[in-house]
């Protein structure tokens, strides 16, 4: 690990003033410290923003504002979150380990780097780590990698569970820049697909920090589920995960939300499948039909063909669990 300077900031503009090309912010550090240990991130200085950003969960006119510094554990266990946005809580608790959740921040969860074993091995080519060096995964050990939305340059997947729930619930990311100006970015537009610039994971504006996440009240609290299929039952990234939420009127689906982790460079929404479920009866046949719509046209890599079948099963399972949450 490269030696680095360390400082703390108590105000956002102060923290933003310190930022340059060789600076990185550190909150929970649960991803950045790993990257530094593996010489993937080599900042000259770190700015600790744990006392810069809000760690509060506050009600707003339309819903809830989650400060960027709210720890994952606090968010998962918050009474309002559990009552009104249980999908968020379920997703968080399916991720990482209690120790990591105790440290990890909400903002950091959004900004964690995508996963791919080759990205984590500096001795191998990786376009994300070193643009134009090549992608080792696309023809390598890509069992954990993407089945949709990838490019020739990168097949990594976004590892967050929380983000899958936030994507499903159409959250908003509120950012703040040096001048104090805030900007709201729709969640589905926050994370990027790799395209020809896989080194960029998200659309956080330069010289801005995530201030908070905003959730709007919805009718999905009653019937939602998070299903994560993984090689072991705790502290493992998803092979595939599904956040499902139904707004039901009796047996009829008024609106459905379906999002997945472990399939793409960003949390992935299955819009066509959601559209199909609208107005349908909530039953196994329609769930299976929706799952079939979702998996149509997916392009798995050499070692992850199973993800298509697994995704189908996970979508059906998640939708079924929505009925008996």
């Amino acid at each position: 690990m490269r030696p680095f300077l360390f400082s703390k900031s108590s105000a956002i503009n102060q923290a933003l003033a310190k930022k340059n090309n060789t600076t990185q912010y550190i909150a929970g550090g649960t991803n950045l410290v790993d990257l530094m240990k593996k010489n993937i991130a080599e900042p000259e200085s770190l700015v600790d923003i744990t006392s810069t950003l809000s760690a509060k969960i506050e009600p707003t006119a339309k819903g809830l504002q989650i400060g960027a510094m709210v720890r994952n554990t606090a968010l998962a266990n918050d009474a309002t979150v559990m009552a009104k946005f249980p999908l968020v809580s379920k997703a968080i608790l399916a991720g990482a380990s209690p120790q990591i959740r105790n440290m990890a921040s909400t903002g950091g969860n959004l900004l964690q780097r995508t996963r791919c074993p080759y990205f984590y091995d500096v001795t191998t080519p990786c376009n994300k780590r070193k643009p134009d060096s090549g992608c080792s995964a696309i023809h390598g050990e890509n069992r954990m990698n993407a089945i949709v939305g990838y490019s020739e340059q990168c097949v990594a997947v976004h590892p967050s569970d929380l983000c899958v729930a936030l994507a499903a619930l159409d959250a908003t990311v509120k950012t703040q820049d040096k001048s104090g100006k805030t900007q709201s970015i729709a969640f589905k537009g926050f994370h990027r697909l790799p395209g020809t610039t896989p080194e960029k994971d998200n659309n956080l504006p330069a010289n801005a920090l995530i201030h908070s996440i905003e959730l709007t009240e919805n009718s999905f609290a009653k019937n939602c589920a998070y299903v994560k299929v993984r090689d072991r039952d705790s502290y493992a990234f998803a092979l595939v995960s599904v956040a499902a939420a139904l707004n039901l009127k009796g047996n009829q689906i008024v609106e459905a939300r379906l999002a997945s982790g472990g399939v793409a460079h960003k949390p992935w929404r299955w819009f066509e499948a959601e559209q199909f479920l609208k107005g349908k009866t909530a039953n196994a046949a329609n769930f299976e039909a929706a799952a079939n719509i979702a998996i149509k046209g997916l392009k798995p890599l050499s070692h992850n063909g199973f993800k298509v079948l697994m995704l189908k099963g996970a979508i059906e399972t998640a939708l079924q669990q929505c009925l008996n949450p």
Binding site: K38, N39, R232
Partner: protein, 738 residues
């Protein structure tokens, strides 16, 4: 005041580990935790290619880092007399003669060592060392490479394997197991300090201090006694500490170079290629039976991966000769050289791998025969004698293990055909398998020091790698002296103490138990000698005639000729009474065969939509002779069973031949089971002493806990789903696609 600064005064539970309080309060010191004056730090630099030659180094950037004290490479290094020339290197049989070659055999192979005042500086400087290589093609794909390797006979054939061709029922199938990595919680580490030019002190993580001592005495051409090795607390080994690995030598070389004590601790990613692993294995089994279920024979072929610089044959077909009557048997094996580090013994080495294939094939055969797999095994067990060498078993209760296990899991609830029990998306099934291990014993020594107040300290060089050696020594000393456990202290894991074999191969307790008993006899005789001065009755007494208590010695019965230790010590002007004794195997080894065994029963749920396997119950019943410390023994068995879950469902070291690299060499990439993956393991013992193996009658347990577990799980998955999965690990994708 922090948690660990709080004073504690916790009594050890009556049946708790002797080292338990020290471990849970942070008081126990693992190799890397000792404070040594003037200590500096060394960090290894690994090769970035898998095969070829080092052309040159660029050390300039690293040397400029403040605090760097020196850099070792094969070009610049302190002299290691035992590796001074090619002939000596060959003779040393070290495997990898670290820093004594320009050849690269695997990625991560140490090419340089950076020594600095602080760990941070050493780590940073190490990251700046680069090398130019002459790259050669590398082989890392086991399944590809094995196709060109010829099998050779593994032991003598029995009968004629052609008999299999006319067997009315048979199974022929191939089995693949991915490489697994030990990854004990404590990473391997060494602190080396040269006390003089020819005197070395080591704090080292290993499973046998005397082995470390002997190895370095030879390499540095100094007397064995000039090397002190301290390994008092070992945070797990699973076999990874049975060899002396390059990093320990590197650390000692560094201490020689900078003339200061040096600490070298492997990083977790380095653990994946520095201290061995269970090699990948391919097997083919042909198994046949008559209509009544009697086995006709078995043809077992096996290949395991090894390195290109050393041959490691895992002995996969050894277990084929151990458990069942196979009148016709043919075993063949081969090793497959790869550009990886050398594999080594990992819990249940060889047998664990071979047993998976055999026990899977037997299960498959049971369905063809329409016979209960328990009944099929019972019909074919070799219960009287070792089927290979013909010696009668001293004891073999594998049948009782099976009976008890079947009862515990309610085997009668198992359906005779697959896919019969469905709950929603889940299919439920039962499976079982057995395992056995040749039960060994080595020659070990133990010492006892006795104080005037009747307190004794029982000592051995043997390590306790978490297996419960210490508590078991205390229990044996208590049983054989009569002195209360609270007055018995244990000291171990130090080469200054009486020598003992390494803790491995399920031989630890079997070996040290006899030594403790022998030391107790020596103590009794010594006490009798002094007691004779006060009372003629003790003259020429045999050890069996002497009874010790917390307060004194008596002849045969506690009230007969009682002499208090106080009076004995005062009359004889004693300070500390010291004895040492050795004990080892003898003629019984020519008369009997010895084995430990276990039966594993499993109930699984398999999700048909996601491929997820959940282990609902796992029962392990074992025959380890007399159980000396039930809690420690049960802990061994449940730990082994969890290891078996890992082998069955998730552990796999992936490689990438194109890039010559391991893939996912960290705990996010390499999965071993956590609590969420394991039910409470249900453990039971037959607990009948073996009268011949050693004085305490106990047979080793470490291995049998995992031998058979993976097959029991795979067999349960078949019973639940009808999917016969022969490749480990059985990850959800395999279940889904099968």
């Amino acid at each position: 005041m922090g948690f660990f600064d709080e004073p504690y005064d916790l009594p050890t539970a009556a049946d708790g580990r002797v080292e338990g309080v020290a471990k849970v309060t942070g008081g126990g010191k693992y190799a890397a935790e000792y404070k040594v004056d003037g200590l500096c730090h060394a960090v290894l630099v690994g090769s970035t290619i898998a095969a070829g030659k080092i052309k040159s180094f660029n050390l300039d950037n690293a040397k400029q880092v403040a605090g760097v004290l020196g850099i070792i490479t094969h070009l610049e290094k302190p002299l290691v007399p035992g590796l001074a020339d090619e002939a000596k290197i060959k003779e040393a049989r070290l495997g990898l003669a670290v820093f004594h070659t320009d050849k690269i055999f695997f990625k991560g192979q140490p090419i340089a060592l950076v020594i600095a005042d602080t760990l941070e500086d050493a780590t940073y400087a190490a990251s700046l060392v680069t090398a130019e290589y002459e790259k050669e093609p590398a082989k890392l794909d086991f399944e590809l490479a094995l196709k060109n390797i010829q099998l050779t006979p593994a032991g003598k054939d029995r009968g004629n394997i052609e008999a299999l061709n006319s067997a009315p029922h048979s199974v022929e199938a191939e089995y693949n197991i991915k490489a697994e990595v030990h990854n004990p919680m404590e990473m391997h580490a060494t602190i080396a300090e040269w006390k003089a030019d020819d005197k070395l002190k080591l704090f080292d993580k290993n499973q046998g201090v005397n082995n470390v001592q002997r190895t370095f005495a030879k390499l540095f051409n100094i007397p064995v006694d000039n090397i002190e090795v301290i390994s008092e607390f070992v945070g797990g080994g699973f076999g990874s500490g049975l060899r002396v690995w390059p990093h320990a030598l590197a650390c000692i070389m560094a201490a020689k170079l900078v003339k200061r004590p040096v600490k070298l601790m492997l990083t977790r990613p380095q653990m994946f290629h520095s201290v061995g692993y269970r090699p990948a294995a391919w097997q083919k089994i042909k198994l046949g039976a008559n209509a009544d279920g009697k086995f006709v024979g078995i043809h077992h072929q096996a290949k395991n991966g090894t390195s290109v610089y050393e041959n490691f044959n895992e002995g996969i077909t050894r277990v084929t000769r151990l458990i069942y009557h196979f009148n016709n048997l043919k075993a063949e094996a081969a090793t497959v050289p790869l550009n990886l580090s050398t594999p080594t013994w990992m819990r249940g080495p060889g047998d664990c791998t071979g047993d998976f294939a055999i026990e899977s094939a037997i299960d498959e055969l049971s369905y063809k025969l329409k016979m209960d797999p328990v009944a099929l095994r019972m019909k074919n067990l070799a219960l009287e004698k070792h089927p290979d060498n013909g010696l009668p078993w001293s004891t073999n209760y594998i049948n009782e293990c099976i009976e008890k296990g079947a009862q515990m899991i309610n085997w009668k609830d198992r359906k005779a055909t697959h896919s019969q029990t469905i709950e929603g998306d889940w299919s439920i099934g039962y499976g079982m398998a057995v395992g056995a291990w040749n039960a060994g014993r080595g020659t070990a020594s133990a010492g006892i020091q006795m104080q005037k107040d009747g307190t004794i300290t029982v000592q051995t060089a043997m390590t306790d790698i978490g297996t419960g050696t210490g508590i078991s020594m205390q229990n044996i000393a208590h049983e054989s002296t009569g002195i209360s456990k609270s007055k018995i202290k244990i000291e171990l894991g130090n080469s200054n103490l009486p020598p003992a074999p390494s803790q491995g191969g399920s031989n630890g307790l079997s070996s040290i138990g006899g030594a403790v008993v022998a030391a107790v006899s020596a103590l009794k005789l010594k006490i009798a000698e002094y007691a004779t001065m006060q009372n003629e009755a003790f003259k020429n007494a045999a050890a069996a005639d002497i009874l010790l208590s917390d307060t004194g010695v008596s002849f045969k019965t506690t009230n007969n000729h009682f002499i208090s230790y106080t009076s004995l010590w005062e009359k004889n002007n004693l300070n500390i009474l010291e004895v040492e004794a050795s004990s080892g195997p003898g003629a019984e080894r020519q008369k009997f065969a010895f084995c430990s065994s276990a039966a594993h029963f499993c109930k699984v749920r398999v999700n048909r939509k996601t491929g997820k396997v959940k282990i609902e119950r796992l029962v392990t019943v074992s025959d380890g002779g007399k159980i000396i410390s039930e809690k420690a023994a049960a802990n061994q068995m449940s730990g082994a069973a969890v290891g078996g879950i890992g082998m069955a469902l998730m552990e796999e070291q992936l490689t990438d031949e194109r890039l010559g690299t391991l893939v996912g060499n960290d705990f996010a990439g390499y999965h071993f089971p956590v609590n969420a993956d394991a039910p409470i393991i249900e453990v039971a013992f037959i607990n009948k002493p073996d009268p011949n193996i050693n004085p305490q009658g106990s047979k080793g347990l470490g291995e049998v806990g995992i031998i058979g577990t993976a097959a029991a799980i795979a067999n349960a998955i078949y019973n639940a789903t009808g999917k016969r999965l022969r490749d480990l690990p059985i990850t959800p994708d395999k279940v889904l696609l099968a």
